[in-house]
Every structure is written in C-alpha cells, then in structure tokens.
C-alpha cells in the first residue's frame, strides 16, 4: 500500500492533526496511480475532495458520483458539509444501492 | 370468435358439427382460457356446456354414480355421498389447482385437456370409471384408461364430447386413494401421481386392485403389474414393496422442468405404496 501527503497549499495551520483518507475498491488503480492512502487537512468533506481533485484533476467528480464515505466507520452520503474531525479516518467506498 | 351456451346436449352437438373452423367445448375454462391467452389455441367457436343439465349433475346409477363431465371440482368435493364412496377421487380432485380454479375446473375438462399429469385421471382409472361420449353418430362408452392417447390427444372424434362418467358400485371392504408429488404443497402440477383402488375379502386379503400412475408417461397409465402385487396379499410390507417396484418399472417418463426421469421413476413407487396404504386403511374402515 502506498500513501502520500497531499499538499495543502499554504492552508495548513501546522497545528492540526490531518485526516487519514483511504480508497477501497479500484479507485486507486483507476485514478491515483495505486496510491491508496492520503493525509489531508480539511474542516469538511469539501476540503478533502478539493485537495484530492487538485492533486488528481477529475478525481473529485468521480468521488462525488461513485462513492459513499465512511468517517470513523459511520457511513454518510458524500456531502460537502460533512465535518472532518482532526485525526479521523475517511474511507471512500463504492456507493451502495439496495433493493 | 363466437360464443354459444346451448341448453341441451343435442344443441351443443349441432353447434360443434356445424362449426367452420376450430370449435372448442368450454366447461371450466381453466386450461382453455390460458391456452387462448397464450395463443396456443384460437377457436372459431366456443360451446359453453355448463347450461346442459345432464352434464352438470351428480346422480346415483346402478349403485354407483353418474358424474356429469361439467360438474365443477368444488361441487364434487362438497357432494357428501360421492366423497364418502370415492375418497380417492376426491383426493385427486382437491388437488386440481386452487380453490378458485376448483370453483370452475371440471373432471371432464381435466380428462379432455389430456395432460399426462392430470390429477383426476389416475384416480378415475383406479376407480374403474367409464367415459360416456356423445357425438354426431350417437353415444358410446370408453374405458377411461383408453381415453387419452398422448399429450393433448384423446380418443374423441370430431364433433364428439364427453358428457359424463360412470363410477361403479363400491365393493364391500374397498377403498381408494390418490397421492401426488409436487415441490409445493399446493398450486403445482404433479411430478408423479398415483391412484390406488383396492377391495379386501372378509379375511383382509386383497381380491381386487387397480393402480394407475400419472406424469410418468405420455398419458396416465393403468398398471396391472402393480395391482397384481397386491391381489392375493394382505397388503403387507412385502406386497407394498412389490407394488412399488412394479410401479417404478412401469414408468417411461421424460426429463422436464418439473422433474427428472430418474426422480419420477423412484418417486412413482413411493407414491403408489403410500397411496395403497391409505386405500388399505380406508378399505378396512368400510363395511
């Protein structure tokens, strides 16, 4: 598993503990050159997606359309306003649809 | 398509013989309407026979019963004297579809549809029923085991219809039963059906028996070898095993969506044996 820290373009306060962002499924193969883990500083999901999209242009839209997000195990729809607590674990997982 | 509902047999026969294209008798319609909807049959004329009294009556005759071909299954099931005399026929009739279907379906229709899996046919064969047929050339009788000649095929000539069945007088110490195998408890087509009718003497020895199997050949079979296994015995375990073996041996089934050949052969023996056990118990109960 490879991981990298996504530069936060001067927005980082340095004092915050970044969130750990992880991809499952084949997103990493398809969009991030197999990089599966990232450390990202953001206040909410918008920030996370924005920073990933800056690093991998077009990825943001794929995430919005194709994934559901689990933040510390709690599953949410991908919604920009979703708060991202320092040090939390964020998984982008394939969206689920039921019967 | 024309629809006619004659009140007499004569009128029905006249309609049938005058038809230009395909004419069909409509009794319960539970097979015919499905066939029409699916486009398998497209009759030019439907002759509804439910208004013909002799086809819708259950009458005593010579100690037995004259059963109109257009009597519905529910009417038959609710006929106490018939049900008491021929519980095996009732076993079978009760299995012809749902309550709703039985409210319409008839024993005559079940026979004339000529499905190898028809439930009432093995029971009626075991009961030694005869079929009364009327046609442009008059009336005739046919043994029920000879009536169906293959899937969808009968011994009826053009313009002929089945009007009634005659079930013989019940012998003392006799009983009949019908059992079938289906994956569901109800709403299914027999994978195998078995009708057994037997009569005992005062010493409990089987003197007469008829065994019939459904859904194991192109038509319901009368199996004399299986009956022979019972006759002369007290219908003990050994005789029942011989019956089962003879029943299985008589099968010449096909593989289809409802069961495999192999499974049908095996189950035919089991159903025949179990039906015989029920028939035996009924025979012992009757005086």
């Amino acid at each position: 598993m490879t991981s990298e820290r996504v530069a936060s373009k001067g927005l980082s306060t340095g004092a915050r503990c970044p969130a750990r962002v992880i991809f499952t499924g084949d997103f990493s193969d398809r969009y991030t050159g197999s990089v599966r883990e990232f450390e990202i500083e953001a206040n909410n999901l918008r920030g996370v997606i924005k920073k990933l999209d800056e690093r991998y242009p077009g990825l943001g839209e794929r995430l919005e359309k194709e994934t559901t997000v689990a933040i510390d195990g709690e599953i949410h729809e991908v919604d920009y306003s979703q708060p991202v607590r320092p040090g939390c674990e964020i998984f982008f997982i394939p969206k689920i649809e039921g019967g | 398509m024309r629809y006619e509902a004659p009140r007499t047999l004569e009128a029905a026969l006249a309609l049938l013989s005058s038809a230009n294209g395909q004419a069909r008798v409509l009794a319960g319609g539970t097979d015919l309407l499905i066939g029409m909807r699916a486009g398998h049959v497209a009759p030019e004329l439907l002759v509804d026979v439910k208004g013909i009294t002799e086809m819708t009556s259950i009458l005593a005759e010579n100690g037995g019963f004259r059963l109109g071909a257009a009597v519905t299954c529910m009417d038959l099931v609710e006929h106490e004297a018939f049900a008491k005399a021929w519980p095996g026929v009732i076993d079978a009739v009760k299995l012809i579809g749902s309550i709703q279907v039985k409210g319409r379906a008839t024993v005559g229709g079940n026979l004339c549809n000529a499905s190898p899996a028809a439930d009432s046919v093995p029971a009626m064969i075991a009961a030694d029923a005869s079929v009364s047929i009327a046609g442009p050339n008059g009336k005739r009788e046919e043994r029920i085991e000879n009536f169906t000649t293959g899937p969808g095929k009968t011994a009826l000539a053009k313009g002929e219809i089945v009007t009634s069945f005659l079930l013989p007088r019940r012998l003392p110490h006799s009983g009949d039963a019908y059992l079938r195998f289906t994956p569901r408890t109800e709403m299914d087509i027999a994978v195998v059906g078995a009708g057994v009718n037997l009569a005992l003497d005062d010493g409990g020895v089987c003197r007469q028996a008829r065994v019939s199997l459904g859904a194991v050949a192109e038509r319901a079979l009368l199996v004399p070898e299986a009956a022979a296994a019972l006759i002369g015995s007290k219908v003990d375990a050994a005789a029942l095993e011989r019956l089962a073996a003879a029943a299985s041996a008589a099968c010449r089934p096909i593989d289809d969506k409802r069961g495999t050949r192999e499974f049908r052969i095996k189950i035919a023996g089991v159903m025949a044996r179990r039906a015989a056990e029920i028939a035996l118990a009924r025979a012992r109960e009757t005086s």
């Binding site: - | 319609g29 539970t30 499905i34 439910k50 749902s98 109800e186």
Partner: protein
Amino acid sequence: MTKHHVTTTVNGDAVEFLCEAHETLLEVLRDGLGLTGTKEGCGTGDCGACSVTIDGRVVCSCLVLGVEAEGKAIQTIEGMAAGTRLHPLQRKFLEHAGLQCGICTPGILVAARSLLERNPDPTEEEVRYWLAGNLCRCTGYNKIIDAVLDAAREMRGADHA
C-alpha cells in the same frame, strides 16, 4: 366483431355490459365497468389477485369469460363493505397489518370471506390451504392468517362468549 350483451348483477346491482367473446370477466370488470379493485397478477389463475365470487363460488376472474356472467351474481372487493361499514375481515386485515403493498389484498379478502361463509371456525391449516391460491410476496402470510382467524373468531361471536 359482434359484441355480446350481458345482463348480470355485480355487488347486488343490476349491470348490463357489452363485451367481445374473448374478453375475460376481469377485463370487463376493470376496463369496462371501472371496478379496478380486482387485480391482475398473472392472468393464468396462479396468483388469485383477481378473485371474485360468482353465485357464491370464489373463482379467478381472469379464467372466466365476460359472457359467462350472464344471469349470474358477481361479488367483487368493491362490494365487500356494507356501505360505510367495513366487513370484519377488512377491519382485521387493518388491525393485524395483514397487508404491506396491498395488491394481493382484495383477492385474499374475497377468498377468505368465501372460506368463512363455508367454515366459520377454520383451523390455521385450513386457512393456509384455502388461501394457497392467493399469492402474497410481502408478508410471508403470517399476519394474513392471523387476521382471518381473528375475523372468524369475531364473526362467530366468540369475543362475547
């Protein structure tokens, strides 16, 4: 195509209609008379959603021709309540949650009424076998059976016994 003129009674009312020979009673009820409470689930008599009674016998109206209604008394789900008063079966289905989607409900009610008319005190097994021709895919039948048994109890007056 010549149409047949049929005189019948539906839910106690005299009704006349025209239909083609091949039209089923179900089509006549639904498309001709606007009585859409009777449902079509299969058209082959295997699901019971189209159950009605003809002269007191419960049948699948998809397996009856409209012309066969001549001179008969037809009862459909629309005639089950007495005016504004629900039949006990209808009330018990509501109380016991004997329906989820509700598409099989009219047919089951008609069939169940026919059972209770013949057998006011059925066992659970008798109810299950009587209703075997009415498919329900939502409920697993549990609450339907409960509702029928409870309605039977009430109709027998067992509550007051």
